[in-house]
Subunit: 213 residues, 2 copies
């Protein structure tokens, strides 16, 4: 990037879902940012109607422009951080397709949270865990095997695709996607290798020590 680094304020809940991968990206890229954590019970009701799409996360740039949609923010900060191949059009598309595949996986899980019937929630997640997710992670593993030049998902270096895999797979491995077995992804070696490589990255270790789960 040319020019000076913009001032960045990330607004998100004190949670590790959509916004956490953006935080990890900025921390790995050593980009200073204000990590503003909205209190859901007290602040969010009055903030929500003021946001572009009624959702968090948001990124405010130089106190003037606010961007919504987590994957739009992730690509923006990934480019600033040198963790997105913005000048290599083909590799950028390969990174995008992995980010979007993980988004599809996460969206399927998040959709189950809206169901008010707890019995149906468990049934839906069991179906995800035995049909959709094995297929989706299987496809993901094959795609990584095809385009990785080693450990990382695309090319020779860590990108936002790897951070997206890590941030979301860690929910499953930590048993936090209730109803989805913690060992679900163990059958996918490329996915697991990326998870481990990100987990042991010095900047990630540093971040997680400062922000315990």
């Amino acid at each position: 990037m040319t020019g000076s680094m913009p001032s960045l304020k990330l607004v998100y809940f004190d949670a590790r879902s959509k916004g956490e991968v953006i935080r990890l990206c900025m921390h790995v890229g050593s980009i200073p940012f204000e990590d503003y954590r909205v209190v859901r019970s007290t602040e969010w009701p009055s903030l929500k109607p003021q946001t572009p799409f009624g959702q968090l996360p948001l990124l405010t740039i130089d106190n003037s422009t606010t961007i919504a949609q987590s994957n739009a923010i992730l690509r923006y900060v990934g480019t600033l951080a040198g963790l997105y191949p913005s000048t290599d059009l083909l590799n950028a598309a390969l990174v995008d397709q992995i980010v979007l595949q993980i988004t599809d996986i996460r969206n399927l899980h998040n959709a189950t949270k809206k169901d008010p019937d707890p019995v149906r929630v468990v049934a839906t997640r069991e179906t995800l865990a035995t049909t959709c997710y094995p297929a989706m992670f299987g496809y993901l593993d094959k795609t990584i095997a095809q385009h990785s030049a080693g450990i990382w998902a695309v090319g020779h270096t860590l990108t936002i695709a790897d951070l997206m895999i890590y941030a979301n797979v860690s929910f499953i491995k930590d048993g936090q996607w209730a109803g989805i077995p913690a060992d679900l992804v163990d059958a996918y070696p490329k996915v697991c290798a990326i998870y481990e490589a990100v987990r042991s990255h010095p900047k990630i270790v540093e971040w997680e020590a400062a922000h315990p789960k």
Copy 2:
């Protein structure tokens, strides 16, 4: 873009959903491509397990690399076509957020198709039409008003954000999202202005005359 244009083959159903906006982008950008339309009943069952994520559309580049995920493909061809501000990081993010907001709207509709209970489908769509969609289009209209420099959604020129709005709003306006009123978006002037501007664009008129609905 530097270098020669790659050869491109788009593989999608003979349908106007996720793949159509990619076709429109390449046609508006005068990018030659093979418009391969898979027959769902005969070809798709054997093709599906060979695809990266079990889904269409796919884009094959120079007969060698295949990219999946419609928004990854859209950004790739949008950059080739000069319809994505790939060298303007902030405008790129503003385009991305609109593409992703429209994707959220489309995903809500597509999710209703999976429900086997036709009574619940209608009820879900009525809820979308009276609660979610007005809020989401309202947010979209305000966001466009904030960043548009005239008609188009971001800056001074047509981008993939405008094509994404057009391709998806046209389903509603044509009454093809069964259960969603055809006049639902009429209350959102910026969205409607973009829809009309894309609809009357000479390259879109040319494409739709050659590919009647």
